[in-house]
Symmetry: C2
Subunit: 376 residues, 2 copies
C-alpha cells in the first residue's frame, strides 16, 4: 500500500469537492463516481453492455449474497465474478458486514466475528475478517472492503465506542489477511453519530494504512443534516491522496452535498430499486410513472436527459409497461435512473475540471425550483 | 388486393416447402418466418434493438390486450403502435378473436360478434368484425387478421360447421370494413379437424380474396400428427402466390414440419414463455436451466448457437440468475430462445435457397438424436 493508486487532479476552491482518478488493475475510475449495485452478480435488469453505454465505470457486488448463492468457491472455479457475469471493468465488493448485521436476531457478534443464519435456508455460517477477505479475493474483487460492523442508528455512545474499537481491530486483521496485492483494500470509518469517535476511527485506520477510506454507518435513518455534519467532521481527517467512499448514499441531493464535502465514491440501491417501483429521477426531482397524469403524456421521462430511454420512449408507454407489469418496465426505468445518477456525477466531474462546481451545485437546485411543478 | 404482395422465390422439389418474400409498407419479410409475440406492446424482456439484432423481421401484437389496455385510441393519438413501442419493422396484429373466445363464460357469441367482459376489470365490451378491423387499423398494424372464431378441440361437426360458416360471413364483413388499403389483410381458414370443412373454408376465403391466408384453430390440444394432417389437407387449396400463416405453432419440430408442408409464417409464445420458466431450446432439444446438473456448467446454453447469450454467459450463470429470480434471467433466456427460433427459420430459408431443405430437415432430427444425452 506504499504504492499510490489515487491521483488528486483538482480541488474546488470554494468547497471541499475533489476531482480524482483511482487506478485499479481493471482500469481507471474517474471520481466523483457513482457505483451501480449488482447484488447477486447482476445489476438488476441491466445488461453489462447497457452499463457501459451509460458510463458505469465500476459496479458493486455483495459478498453476503454471493457467499450464500451461488457460493464464492463456485464463482472462483468458474473464473471469478467478472467472467461469471461478463463484466470486465472494476468491481468493488462490500464485506458482507452490512447484510449480516441487518439480519437482527439471526446473528451473534463476538470478537472473532459473526455467526449468522442464511436468509435463504437458515443454514449457520461464520463470517470473520479473515473469511470476508478470502471470499472477496475468491470473487476476484478489485476493491475489497474491510469487514466491520455497521452500527444502527440510534445507538448509545458506549455501544458505538465498543463496536468501533472492535471494527478497528477487525480492520487490522483484514489487512493482515490480505493475499491479493493487486486488489485495493479500503478501510471503513465507523463511530456512529459521535464526531470524536469518528475522528478516532479515522485516525486509527489511517495509521494502519489503506488504499482508500470509506465512511460506513451513514444513511441509516438519520436526518440529512446530521449525515452532512458527520461527513464534515470526518472527511477532513482522511488523507487527501486517498479515495473516500461514502457507503450506501443516497438521493441526488445527498450525492451533490457529499461531493461538496470531499467525498469521491458512492453506491446506493436507490436508483435501481426505485426504478422497479416506477419512481423515476429527473432534473426536476422525481416522478411516479404509475400516476394517471402520464397516461397520454407523449414526452420523455426527462426532457433534459439524453439516455436511450428518454430518446426513444414516452412517459405514456412507460406507464403502460408499468401498469401491465412488463419486464421492460423494470429494464427501461432502471436504465434511465442509473443514467441519471451517472450523468449527475459526470457533470460534477466536468464542473470540477472547469472550476465551476459551485455553479453546477446551484444549477442543480435551481432547476428543481424552476421545474418544481413536475415534482410529485 | 389485386396488387401482388408476395413473391414465391423457390419451391422445394421434394417437399411442399416454399421460399418467399412478403412486401409490406414497412419493409420485406423473408419467408419462412417466425414472428415473436409482443402481446402488450412489448416482446416480454426484449428491447427492440435486441429483436433487430437477432433478426426479427416482424412481430405480433395482440388486439384484445391493447384494446383493453392502454386502449387503441390512446395508442393512435400517440402516433400508433410502432412509435409507441419504438419498433419500425412490420407488425402483424391478431384479431382479438382467439383471446375473447378463450374467456369461456365471460363471453357470448352471436351473428353480430362477441360480447365479453374484460379480464382486467370485468367491464363489458363488444367485438365485431368491424370493430376488430377498426382497432387494428388504429394501432397501425401492417398485417391485419380477419375476426374469426377459434374453434376449441374437440368440437362436434355441427358446431364446427356452424362456426366456420359464421367466420366466413365475418371474413366478408372484415374485408368490407377495411379502410387502410396500405395494410395487408389476411383471412383465416377454420373448419376444425374436419378436412372437408377446412377445404370449404379455404375455398370461401379465396373467393372473397385476401392478401394472405392463415390456418387458425390448430395447436389447440390435438396430436401433432392430426395437426400435420390438417395442414396437408388444407394448404394445397390455398393459392401459391399468397403467404400462408399457421397461427400459434409451435415447437421447433412443428415449425420444420409445417414448412415442409408449405407454410410460410408462424407465431408462438413457446420460446418466450418457456424462457421465463427457465426452459431453453437447443439444437439438442431443450433443457431446464434450474436443474442441479448445470450448477457448475461453464459451457453455453447451446454450443452451436452464436447468439449474444451463448457467446457471453455460462449455463452456471444462467442457472444462478434463474434461482435468484433475477430480471436478467428472463431477459437472457428470452434472447436465446428467440434467437434459436429465428435461426431455425433463417436456416430453412438458406436451405431452400440452396435447394437443400430435405438435408436441413434431416440434420435437424439427426442432431437431436446424436446429442440426445443433453435432452431432459
Amino acid at each position: 500500500m506504499a504504492e499510490q493508486h489515487f491521483d488528486l487532479l483538482q480541488r474546488d476552491d470554494r468547497t471541499q469537492a475533489r476531482r480524482g482518478r483511482l487506478h485499479t488493475r481493471r482500469g481507471v475510475i474517474e471520481t466523483p463516481a457513482f457505483m451501480p449495485v449488482g447484488t447477486q452478480g447482476t445489476v438488476k435488469g441491466m445488461l453489462p453492455e447497457a452499463l457501459v453505454d451509460i458510463g458505469a465505470q465500476v459496479i458493486l457486488a455483495n459478498t453476503y449474497h454471493l457467499f450464500l448463492r451461488p457460493g464464492h468457491e463456485l464463482v472462483e472455479r468458474l473464473g471469478g465474478l467478472h467472467r461469471f457475469m461478463h463484466w470486465d471493468r472494476p468491481i468493488l465488493t462490500d464485506s458482507g458486514g452490512f447484510q449480516v448485521f441487518s439480519l437482527g436476531d439471526l446473528r451473534k457478534i463476538d470478537e472473532n466475528g459473526v455467526v449468522f443464519q442464511s436468509h435463504l435456508d437458515g443454514a449457520r455460517h461464520v463470517l470473520t475478517p479473515e473469511v470476508s477477505i478470502a471470499v472477496q479475493e475468491s470473487l476476484g474483487s478489485d476493491i475489497i472492503m474491510a469487514f466491520d460492523e455497521c452500527i444502527p442508528h440510534p445507538a448509545t455512545r458506549d455501544y458505538t465506542a465498543l463496536s468501533t474499537d472492535r471494527s478497528g481491530r477487525w480492520a487490522q486483521r483484514c489487512k493482515a489477511a490480505r493475499r491479493d496485492d493487486d486488489a485495493l483494500l479500503f478501510g471503513i470509518v465507523q463511530g456512529g453519530m459521535f464526531p470524536d469517535l469518528r475522528r478516532k476511527s479515522a485516525d486509527e485506520l489511517v495509521s494502519i494504512g489503506f488504499d482508500g477510506y470509506a465512511l460506513g454507518g451513514l444513511s441509516v435513518g438519520e436526518d440529512a443534516d446530521l449525515m452532512y455534519a458527520m461527513m464534515e467532521q470526518t472527511l477532513p481527517h482522511l488523507p487527501q491522496d486517498a479515495p473516500r467512499y461514502v457507503m450506501g448514499i443516497g438521493t441526488p441531493e445527498n450525492l451533490i452535498e457529499a461531493v461538496a464535502r470531499g467525498a469521491d465514491m458512492f453506491d446506493c440501491v436507490m436508483p435501481t430499486r426505485n426504478a422497479r417501483n416506477g419512481v423515476l429521477f429527473t432534473r426536476a426531482g422525481r416522478l411516479s410513472i404509475k400516476q394517471a397524469r402520464y397516461r397520454e403524456d407523449s414526452g420523455p421521462i426527462d426532457p433534459d436527459c439524453g439516455c436511450m430511454v428518454c430518446r426513444q420512449y414516452s412517459r405514456a408507454y412507460l406507464r403502460h409497461l408499468y401498469q401491465s407489469n412488463e419486464i421492460l418496465a423494470s429494464v427501461l426505468n432502471t436504465h434511465h435512473n442509473l443514467a441519471y445518477y451517472l450523468d449527475l456525477m459526470a457533470g460534477a466531474r466536468s464542473a470540477l475540471d472547469a472550476g465551476t462546481f459551485t455553479a453546477y451545485r446551484a444549477d442543480f437546485y435551481q432547476r428543481r425550483a424552476r421545474l418544481a411543478d413536475e415534482i410529485d
